[in-house]
C-alpha cells in the first residue's frame, strides 16, 4: 500500500534523512519512534512533498509520488496531520473541515462530516466558532478530521498526543483505530510509547536518519537494548 524506499532529504546542506525505508499495508498501523530531532517530522514532510526529497521513492498503490508537488500527492490519496496542527485559525471549525474535503479515489474509505462529528460531538457544538479558540485536544481532533474528509488511503499523523490530557488521548486513539478498521494505512510518529503501543501493529525506530529497527511491539518490548540506544535520553 504505502512503501517508502531510500528516502533522502536535507535542509540546505544539513542532510537529515539518509535512506529512510519502510512499508505498510492498508488496515495496518505503524508507529515510528525516535528521539527529538531524529527526523520523524522531516520524514512526513519529505513523503508529503513539503520538503522535496533528494532521492528515493514514495510508492502509494504502486505509483511513485516522490518529487511531485504536495497537492498532487494529497490528491493521489496520501493524508498528512502535522505536528503543529496548522489549523486555519481565522476560519470556523466547519470551514476548516470543508477545506479538507475532496473526492475519494476508488477503493478508499469515505468519511462524512456527520459521522466524524458523531465520533467527537464537541466539534459539532463548536462548528461555527473560529478554530483559533479551540483547546489543544479539540484542535488535534479537528486536524485529523480535516485530513480524513479528503478520504485518504494512507495517512501520516505526527505526534497526535503531544501535550494532551489522558482523557483526550483516548479519544485520539479511538479515532486512529477507526481509521485502521476502515482500511487506511496509518503511520504514527510518536515519542512516548504509551498510546501507540496499545494500537500499533508495527514499531519502527528512527536514528541517524534511517529506520534502525522494525518489528512487532512484542519484539520491540523484548529488546531493551534498542530502547536504550535509540530512545532514552542519556
Amino acid at each position: 500500500m504505502l512503501s517508502v524506499r531510500d528516502l533522502h532529504a536535507a535542509y540546505g546542506n544539513i542532510h537529515v534523512l539518509r535512506g529512510v525505508a519502510f512499508e505498510i499495508a492498508g488496515g495496518e498501523i505503524a508507529t515510528i519512534l525516535g528521539r527529538n530531532g531524529s527526523g520523524r517530522s522531516t520524514t512526513c514532510k519529505a513523503v508529503m512533498g513539503l520538503l522535496p526529497p533528494l532521492r528515493g521513492q514514495v510508492l502509494l498503490g504502486g505509483v511513485d509520488l516522490a518529487g511531485r508537488e504536495s497537492h498532487d500527492i494529497a490528491r493521489a490519496g496520501l493524508g498528512y496531520v502535522p505536528e503543529e496542527r496548522l489549523i486555519f485559525t481565522t476560519l470556523t471549525v466547519e470551514e476548516n473541515l470543508i477545506m479538507g474535503q475532496k473526492p475519494a479515489k476508488s477503493g478508499a474509505a469515505r468519511w462524512s462530516m456527520d459521522e466524524l462529528y458523531d465520533l467527537f460531538p464537541r466539534l459539532r457544538e463548536r462548528r461555527n466558532i473560529r478554530a483559533g479558540f479551540l483547546s489543544g485536544g479539540e484542535q488535534q481532533m479537528l486536524t485529523m478530521f480535516r485530513t480524513l474528509l479528503g478520504n485518504p488511503s494512507a495517512i501520516l499523523i505526527d505526534e497526535p498526543t503531544e501535550g494532551l490530557a489522558p482523557k483526550i488521548v483516548d479519544v485520539v486513539g479511538e479515532a486512529i483505530l477507526e481509521m485502521k478498521r476502515r482500511g487506511l494505512a496509518v503511520v504514527l510518529m510518536e515519542q512516548k510509547l504509551s498510546m501507540a503501543m496499545k494500537v500499533t501493529d508495527t514499531v519502527l525506530v528512527m536514528g541517524h536518519g534511517q529506520i534502525v529497527f522494525a518489528g512487532s511491539p512484542q519484539a520491540f518490548e523484548a529488546d531493551p537494548g534498542i530502547r536504550r540506544q535509540w530512545l532514552e535520553v542519556a
Binding site: H71, L86, T90, M99
Partner: protein
C-alpha cells in the same frame, strides 16, 4: 451648507475611486503579500484598453474587454515574471514591478503619446443626476461610485461565501497546509493576482472616462493605494474601503479650504509666532500630503491598520 455637501460628495466619490484601485491591491499585496508596485499601471492600462475597444464595441463592451484584458496581463505578469523572483524575496519583487511600472508607462507613451487621449463619457450618460444649490452632480459620478460599491460587495461575497474564497482565505494563512490538503495553491494565487489586476483594469476603464486618460494616471494613484491598503489593515477589504473614503473626504475638504497657515496661527492667538515660511502657505496645498501624514499617524497608533488584528 451646500458647499459642505458638495465637498463631502466629491470626497466620497474620489474615495470610492481610490477604493476601486485599492480593492485589487488588497488581494494582491494585502492578502498574497506581493509587493506589486505596478498595480496602478494596470489601472492605467484598463483606461487605454477601454478607450481602444470602446470605439468598436461601445462603452459597456469596452468595460468588459478592459477588465478581461488587464486580468490577462496580470495573469501573464504573475506567471512569467513575478513567480520567477518570488523565492528571492520582496526586494526582487519590488524591483521587478518597479521596472514593469516604467516599461508600461513608456509603452503607453510610445503608442498613444504623452498627453491625454480623448476617452470621454458617452453622450447617453452625460446628464445631471441631481443639483445641490447651484452645483450639478453628473450621473456619471454616481455610476463610478456604484461600480466601486459593486466591486466591494462582489469581492466580499466571493471571499466570504464561495469555496474558492474559502481556499484563498486559508491559503493566505497557511499555504503549505492548503497544498497538503490537495489544493493547487500556485494556481489559486495566480487566479487571485489575475482578479486583482482585472479589478484595477475595470477601475481604470470607469475612471479614465471622467478623469484624464494619460500615462500619468499610474503615478497619480500609484502610492496612494499602498497607503490605503496599509492604513486599512493588510488584506482587509472593509479597512481599505474605510481608509479610501477617509482619504477622499479629507483631501476634498483640504482642497476646499481657502485659509493659510498664517490665518490659523492668528486665530490661535499665535500671530507673532508664525514662521515666515508658513505664513502664506494655503491649506489646500498640503492636501496631497495628508494621506501620507495619516499613514504615519495610523501606523504609530495602530501598526496593523484599522482592521488589522495582527499582534
Amino acid at each position: 451648507m451646500d458647499a459642505f455637501l458638495v465637498a463631502l460628495l466629491n470626497g466620497l466619490v474620489y474615495g470610492l475611486l481610490v477604493f476601486m484601485v485599492s480593492a485589487g491591491l488588497t488581494l494582491v499585496f494585502g492578502m498574497m503579500g506581493v509587493l506589486n508596485f505596478a498595480h496602478a499601471s494596470f489601472y492605467m492600462l484598463g483606461a487605454y484598453a477601454a478607450f481602444l475597444s470602446g470605439r468598436y464595441i461601445g462603452f459597456w463592451g469596452g468595460l468588459i474587454v478592459a477588465t478581461l484584458a488587464v486580468g490577462l496581463v496580470g495573469l501573464f505578469s504573475e506567471r512569467l515574471l513575478l513567480r520567477k523572483v518570488r523565492s528571492f524575496g520582496h526586494t526582487q519583487e519590488l524591483l521587478l514591478t518597479y521596472g514593469l511600472f516604467f516599461v508600461l508607462e513608456e509603452l503607453v507613451k510610445l503608442l498613444f503619446g504623452p498627453t491625454p487621449v480623448a476617452y470621454r463619457v458617452p453622450d447617453e450618460l452625460r446628464f445631471t443626476a441631481f443639483t445641490i444649490g447651484n452645483s450639478q452632480f453628473p450621473f456619471f459620478r454616481l455610476l463610478m461610485g456604484a461600480t466601486a460599491l459593486l466591486m466591494f460587495f462582489g469581492t466580499y461575497a466571493a471571499l466570504r461565501f464561495t469555496r474558492i474564497g474559502l481556499i484563498v482565505r486559508a491559503a493566505v494563512e497557511r499555504p503549505q497546509m492548503v497544498s497538503a490538503l490537495g489544493h493547487n495553491v500556485p494556481i489559486v494565487f495566480s487566479g487571485l493576482f489575475a482578479v486583482g489586476s482585472a479589478l484595477a483594469g475595470l477601475a481604470g476603464a470607469v475612471a479614465g472616462m471622467y478623469y484624464p486618460t494619460s500615462p500619468a494616471m499610474a503615478h497619480e494613484l500609484g502610492s496612494i493605494v499602498f497607503v490605503v491598503v496599509v492604513i486599512g489593515g493588510l488584506g482587509s477589504l472593509n479597512g481599505a474601503l474605510a481608509a479610501s473614503l477617509l482619504i477622499g473626504v479629507m483631501t476634498s475638504f483640504a482642497v476646499g479650504v481657502e485659509s493659510t497657515f498664517g490665518d490659523l496661527f492668528r486665530a490661535l492667538g499665535l500671530g507673532g509666532l508664525a514662521l515666515p515660511g508658513l505664513e502664506a502657505v494655503q491649506f489646500s496645498s498640503i492636501a496631497g500630503v495628508l494621506p501620507y501624514a495619516l499613514m504615519l499617524l495610523v501606523l504609530l497608533w495602530r501598526p496593523a491598520g484599522f482592521a488589522g488584528n495582527r499582534a
